[in-house]
Structure formats: C-alpha cells, structure tokens
C-alpha cells in the first residue's frame, strides 16, 4: 500500500466504503435483506453467492443503478447518496460489467472518450485521451494500444480497456462483476496480476465470481450471500473451498461426481472426415473423424475458437458440411435440415443459450415446447393444446427444479441457471439418443453447474451418447470417458480418461503432440 493519500492515477484514495443494512425489495422477493458490506483500500473483497443470492443487487445499489429501500452508504465514514452511475463515478466507484460496454467499431481511445466531454469543446481530443491512456497503461502495466480497434482485441484485452475506462474516469474503487467468466486461464492470471498491482497501489476491489479457486487465490476477504441475506464475512486465509461451497448452497456439494463403468455397446454418432467453414469464411473444421458411443461422455476440449462451435453446428445441421459424412445410428444425416436431424432424437444444448437456446420474450411453457410444438400432444392439426403445454411445463418445472413463479413467467425473468434448466429439461425430456452439450455450465453458479453435470451423467447412465464441448478443463476431466482435443479445426488426439492429465491436454490444446511421453500422474 502506498503511504500517500493519492493513487497512482492521481485520484484521492477511498479508504473505506461501507454499506449498512441495505434492504431492497422487488415484488414478491426480498433481494437484499439488511446486508452489511464494506471494502477498504488495498484489498480484494470477494462477493460470493449463487445466482439470485443478491450479489448483483447489492453492487447495482453501490453503482447507483438501484436505490435501496433501507440502509445507507458511507464513504470514509461520511454518508453519501448514490442516485445514479454519474454519482458513483464522481465518488470514485467504477464497475466492470460482465458484458463489456464497448463499441467494437471504435478504437480504444474513442471508447474511453465516449460519453465524456472533450477538453476542446466541439472538437475531439483523442490525442490527449490517448496520451492519458498510455500513462495509465504504464502505471498499471496494462498493455494496450489506444489506436487499436476494439473488434481486433481479444476478450482479455477488451476487459483491460474496460479497466482503463474506469481508471480514466477516476475510479478508486472497482467492482468487477464476474470478470473471469469470459477469460482463458492465461488471461485470468494476467487479470490477477493487474488486480494485485491495483490493490498494492491502494485501490479497493470488489470481486464477484462463481469460481471458488479464483476467489481463494485472489481475495483478502470473502462475503457470502444467500437468498438476499449475508451469511458471513471472513478473511480468506481462514476458510477452505469446501466450507465456502457448503456455505453458498447450504448443503454438501460433491466435487467428484459419481460415475459407473463405460460400456460402449454401439456407435451412435460417427463423423467421417467432416469439414466445414466458419463464420469468417476460414476453414472451421478440417477433416474431423470421431465416434461417439452409447453410454459414454466424449469430452471435446480445446481453446475457444478452434472449431467447437462449428463441430456442434455441423452435426446438428445448422452449418453446411462441405465434405465428409455424419452418421447418426448408422444412417447418413449429412445435409439434412436441423428439424430432420433433431427428429431423429438428437438433442442439442447450444453454447449461447440466451441467443440460440431460448426465446427470452416467450414464457417458460412456450420455451419448453420450442422443439416439439408440432408434435402430439402439444398440438393437433396446427392447433396448440394450451392445457397440455402448461401441464407439460409444470411437470418439467417440478422434475428439473426450475425456480420460476409460474410457467407463464417470461424466460428473460429467470436467472441464468434456471434458463439453462429450461433448455436442459426440454432437450432431455424427449429421451434423445444423442446429446450435444456445448458449454453447458458456462456462467452458471455452483448449484446449477452441479445439477447440469449430474443430469448429463444421468443421461450417460441411461445409455445416451453425450458429447460434451467445454472450455472448462476441470469439467471435461470430471465428466468425460474419453477426451478429444480440437486444435485449429482438427482432432489432435483422443485420450482415454485414465491417461488424461491437465498437462497432457494442455499441450494438445496448444497444438503440441506430446510424442510418446508417458502420462504424468498427478
């Protein structure tokens, strides 16, 4: 920590920010129930909790997006009113949202300057902005080129732009809302370096994350919320991961899911030398051959953008296969329409569930029949059977423990985990022969993640062939019977579970063939 009362960015330090007895009610829900929270200069205070536990509510109150029904906010001991983000920015509070607020077609400098008055009145002052960005980048060792266009930047770099943006606006205290959710492991490490530097310099950071190991690694203190109430705050050094997980969901969480034996009876899905393009017009898949058996989970590992999306879409008929063949239970399905393929009992849990998996302005019940709405009993000669649709929805809501006020609730009003449960319920209930699950737990909290994984294992036990496409290596290792590694649209290798180690997979993911190297047992 610095002795002086100023931060390297030139701004006065915020020694202590305190929220006292914050209460926020929504119709029918107590989103925040007399919660106390504080953050001090020079620390990372992690905020943990499942989806809907009230983390976002609390932080949105701090950032001025919400107004608390009760309670007060004190800055260095003085009560303050935060009516809007303008107020919070003025007070030195910055927020890095989970979804970046950047304009892709503008440069870094233009994005930083966006919404701020120019020092030259009607003329732009981008040169001055760029200079200041470079200064800040120097101080905080954030490598960034102010003249680069945002669309050219990787996700990690874009996040740095967001951090610069906050610092440029004079943030002394930063709220990071699930900043690691979108990052690769390397980028997470880089982010942590930046975060440590910032706390050393006297910034206070609030870190929201679902990933326990990250929380344990980076934070000084941890506060756990559940159902809008604070469960407790403790120094990180005093707690274990298991403690935290139990704290969060209020019950025992198993980290190593139970699994039965593999029995590959029949090949359900076969890919023979499949090639297809990508959205950018470059080759997406370059001759992929795979075999997926009944009763197994085949994990597809790889760094994002190495053909995972194309693989799923080529199988499901959403992307044109340019050469090669896809066989479902022995029959050639290459070139069939998505509807024809799913009708052969192939289910698909798409990667971008909000965009591709559900319709956010449709009710839960309507979303539940997205695939099957033309079938009996949901409709008969073109007429929907609303009673049957509602009954079906209620059944799935109960069976899959979807937390929703009713089946008429619009999907957009559900939490991320419950939306995924709706998708999962829809795709599993139809008793598929093959399931393609793409990033099925990305962005979900521990409880929902565990639930989704358990369901996939359950399907495997029932003899369904499951392809699990995931960038979460822990997930791949925990669930898969065999692991195929994709690299630049090709299968680098297929590794049986017993021989798979993070090191070996990591090398394959980087495109390196560990030649004949004996698997290192961890």
């Amino acid at each position: 920590m610095t002795e002086a009362n100023t931060l390297p960015s030139g701004r006065t330090r915020l020694d202590r920010l305190e929220m006292r007895g914050i209460t926020k009610r929504f119709p029918g829900v107590l989103a925040s129930d007399h919660v106390d929270f504080d953050v001090q200069a020079g620390e990372v205070h992690a905020l943990l909790g499942e989806n809907g536990a009230g983390k976002s509510t609390l932080m949105k109150i701090l950032y001025g997006l919400y107004h608390p029904d009760e309670g007060q906010i004190l800055l260095n001991g003085q009560p303050v009113t935060i009516a809007s983000p303008t107020d919070s920015i003025r007070l030195g509070i910055g927020m890095i949202h989970q979804h970046f607020m950047l304009v892709p077609t503008l440069t870094v400098a233009e994005n930083v300057a966006l919404g701020l008055p120019s020092s030259r009145g009607a003329l732009t002052d981008l040169d001055r902005v760029s200079k200041r960005i470079l200064e800040l980048a120097e101080i905080y060792s954030l490598k960034i080129d102010p003249s680069a266009y945002v669309w050219q930047l990787s996700v990690g770099q874009q996040q740095r732009v967001e951090i610069i943006k906050a610092l440029y606006r004079g943030a002394a205290l930063l709220i990071l809302d699930e900043p690691t959710a979108v990052l690769t492991p390397q980028e997470v490490d880089e982010l942590f370096v930046i975060m440590r530097q910032m706390t050393r310099d006297g910034h206070g950071l609030v870190f929201i994350s679902h990933k326990l190991h990250e929380v344990v690694e980076i934070s000084n203190r941890i506060t756990v919320l559940r159902d809008g109430r604070k469960i407790g705050t403790r120094p990180t050094s005093e707690i274990t991961k298991q403690d935290l997980a139990n704290w969060m969901v209020g019950r025992e969480v198993s980290f190593a899911p139970d699994r039965g034996d593999v029995k590959c009876a029949e090949a359900r899905l076969q890919l023979e030398n499949v090639a297809c393009g990508s959205d950018r017009g470059t080759p997406g898949l370059r001759g992929v051959s795979l075999e997926l058996c009944s009763g197994e989970i085949l994990g597809i590992a790889g760094v994002s953008g190495n053909g995972q999306r194309e693989l799923a879409e080529a199988i499901t008929g959403l992307r044109k296969v340019t050469s090669g063949k896809v066989l479902l239970e022995g029959r050639d399905i290459t070139g069939l329409t998505p509807a024809e393929i799913t009708d052969r009992m192939l289910s698909y849990i798409p990667e971008e569930r909000m965009r591709d998996g559900m319709i956010k302005d449709f009710s839960v019940a309507e979303n539940m029949i997205l695939r099957e709405h033309t079938k009996m009993p949901y409709s008969r000669s073109g007429l929907l059977n609303l009673r049957e649709i509602s009954r079906h929805a209620d059944e799935l809501i109960a069976q899959f423990h979807v937390k929703t006020p009713s089946h008429d609730t619009l999907a957009k009003n559900l939490s991320g985990g419950n939306i995924q449960k709706v998708v999962l319920a829809r795709e599993i209930f139809r008793t598929p022969r093959v399931i393609i699950a793409a990033q099925p737990t990305r962005g979900l909290d521990i409880g929902a993640t565990e639930y989704v994984r358990e369901q996939l294992l359950e399907q495997r036990r029932k003899g369904v062939a499951v392809m699990l496409i995931s960038e979460d290596l822990d997930e791949i290792l925990a669930l898969s019977d065999r692991i195929a590694v994709l690299y630049e649209g090709q299968v680098m290798d297929i590794v049986p579970r017993e021989d798979a180690t993070p090191e070996r997979l990591g090398l394959l993911m980087a495109g390196v063939h560990p030649e004949e190297s004996a698997p290192v047992v961890k």
Partner: protein, 378 residues
C-alpha cells in the same frame, strides 16, 4: 407500490399520449383563432354524437382494423409491412373484377368469391416482398413501399383502360372509374346507416387472428421467428418461410380491406391518381392503429375505432369551425407521433428496468404485453 403504479401508467400511456396530442392540437387551434373546446366538441359530436355519426365512425374503422390485423401478424414476425396501400388496391381491383364479371351468379357466392379474391390478391402483393426478403435479403420496408407505387399505377391504368365504366368510355370526360356493382353484390347493411357487414367480418377476423397468433403452431412459429430468429433456427423452424408467411398474411388482410371498401362502401372503384384517393390512407393508418393496440388483434378493435373517430370527427370539426382540412391531418399525425414516441419511451423505461433488474434477479416488475417491432435494424 411504485411498480404497480408504473404498470398502470404503462397501460394508460397510449391514452395519455392521445390527450397530449390533442392538447398540442388545441394550441394550434388557438393560434388559428378557433376555440379548441368548441372544435373538440364538434369533433366528438361528429364521431359519436348520433347513431349515424357512430356508424360512420365504424365504417371508417373497418378497413383500419383489417389492415391492423395484418400488421399485428407481420410486426409480431418482425417483418415491417408498409405496403398496406398497395395491397388494398390490388385486393380491391381483383375483387371488383370478379364482381363485374360474374354478374349472373348468385350474390352470396360472388361476394364470398370476391372477398376471397381480394384476400388472395393482397397475399400475393405482400408475398412478393416477403420472398424477396427471405431469399434475396431485400429490405421489406423499401420493397413494400415500392410495391405501393406499382399498385397505384396499375390501378390508374386499369381504371382508365380495360376496366373503365363502359358509360364513361363513351363520354368525353372519361372519369377513371369502374362500373357500379349490381345491388345483389353489395355487402348487407346492418342498420339503416352506411354501416355494413364488413365491420362484423373484421371483428370476427380479429378473434381469428388472435387464435392464429396464440393458439396455432403457425402463430407460435411466426412469433418465435419474430422474437428470436437464432433460437428459432436452432429449434428447427424454417425462419425464412415464416417471414414470408407473416408478410403474405399481412398483405392478405390489407387486400381484404380493399375488397370490403368496394363491396361495402363505394360499390365501384374510382381513382384520383393517388393511392389515398381510394384507400383514404387506411393502409398506413392501419399500422398506427395496430401499434396503438399494442400489436394485439383484440386491442386493435378499439384502436381502429379511435382513429376512425378522429377521421370522421375531424370532418365535422372542419364544417363547424372552418379550420382547414389540413389541420385534421396534422391532428392525426400528432396522435401518431405522440403514441409512437410514448411507446418508444415506455420500451426504454422497461429496458432500463430490465437492465437494472438484470438477468440474475428474480422478478422485475411485471410488464405489460410488449410489441417488439422497433428493434428492426438494430
């Protein structure tokens, strides 16, 4: 509670917007030296003051409602149909042709056939831009507007040439109009006013469109495609097919509106060279009525009556207070501007509330049924 109040506020917003528009109109009336209270009293009297006046309002509301029903379908499918005028004209021309050709057939059959032909004609005129959009990615807003121009010129050509009233053809004046439909082919009058069976047809169809949109797989798919084409495609729905269907049905209802105008009100087609000379602007005003009715077929009924009343009442106001007829158009436009901008404002408020509530929170305040069209082009 604040949220409940704001829900109520949202529901009343179109009404408040209309009142605000009338208030601005009052200022304009004052500037022109007319007492606004008198003027609006005359307007009310003209629209609702007597049985005859109200019947006249309903007569004006009928084509608005029919067009609005089509608009409910297309906008819910996220295709923007600005071609109501042209679709009305084509529907009317084809229906008239049937009515003038099959003069020996029984009345009920010819009426049915003609209205169906109008429906189909509009469907074709709407379906063409639909196909262009679905398979060649042609912007439907532009193509439907262009189809309007084609329809008008086609009508002018037909009414001056092949379809001209034979008695006019002999005269020097050559008024561009068709012959009059024979008495048996007129739509039944409901009461001794100009109110005709077309109004009943429109209301019945409003119920049918409601059923179509929310009780059938077609409607489900049209709405799904309109809300989220990505997820629809992933679910195996042929997105472009349902875009075409939405535009086609939308055109069909406008075509029917045109046919009903001929068979229920004018009994012949006559052109002054412009589209609105025949349609009275219903092809455009129907869009406004649909938006005013929140893109809901049933709510479009009162919305159409409101705009019908504005049109009819304005005539009376003009007669009583000597304000130029242009002011009526201005008033109409003001209502449109206020309602549409209040809708945008409401949606922005709603989005802010959503953004604030975030996907992680359980329930944001219950929000009124939302039309979702305006995301076009985003």
């Amino acid at each position: 509670m604040r949220t409940r109040l704001s829900t109520l506020f949202d529901a009343l917003l179109p009404v408040l917007a209309t009142l605000a528009a009338l208030a601005v109109g009052a200022v304009m009336l004052l500037i022109m030296g007319v007492n606004p209270i008198e003027a609006y009293a005359a307007m009310w009297d003209g629209a609702f003051g007597s049985g005859n006046a109200f019947a006249e309002t309903l007569v004006k509301a009928t084509p608005l409602l029919l067009v609005a029903l089509g608009i409910c379908i297309s906008f819910r499918g996220d295709v923007i149909n600005i071609g109501g005028e042209g679709q009305m004209i084509i529907g009317a021309v084809l229906a008239t042709w049937i009515g003038l050709t099959l003069t020996n057939w029984p009345g009920w059959l010819v009426i049915t056939l003609s209205l169906l032909t109008g429906f189909v004609g509009g469907a074709i005129w709407g379906g063409i831009p639909g196909l262009l959009k679905a398979y060649f990615n042609v912007n439907e807003i532009l193509s439907t507007v262009m189809m309007n121009a084609i329809a008008v010129q086609l009508m002018n050509f037909l009414l001056r040439g092949p379809m001209i009233d034979p008695s006019q053809a002999e005269r020097a004046s050559k008024i561009p109009q068709t012959a009059r439909l024979i008495e048996e082919f007129h739509l039944a009058r409901l009461v001794p006013t100009r109110l005709h069976a077309g109004a009943l047809i429109a209301v019945a169809l409003a119920v049918l469109v409601y059923i179509l949109l929310w009780r059938t797989t077609w409607g489900y798919r049209i709405r799904a495609v309109g809300q989220n084409p990505h997820a629809s495609r992933y679910a195996g729905i042929k997105v472009s097919r349902y875009m075409v269907l939405a535009l086609l049905l939308s055109g069909a209802f406008a075509g029917l509106a045109g046919a009903v105008q001929v068979f229920g009100v004018n009994y012949r087609m006559i052109t002054d060279g412009s589209a609105s000379g025949f349609t009275g602007g219903a092809g455009f005003n129907g869009i406004v009525a649909a938006l005013f009715g929140q893109l809901h077929p049933i709510w479009s009924i009162p919305a159409s009556i409101l705009f019908g009343a504005l049109l009819v009442g304005a005539n009376k106001m003009q007669r009583m207070t000597q304000v130029p007829s242009a002011l009526v158009t201005v008033l109409n436009g003001l209502v449109v501007i206020f309602v549409v901008s209040s809708e945008i404002w409401r949606r922005r408020r709603q989005r802010r509330r959503m953004a604030v509530a975030g996907p992680e929170e359980t329930p944001p305040p219950p929000v009124e049924k939302k039309p979702q069209q305006a995301e076009a082009g985003a």
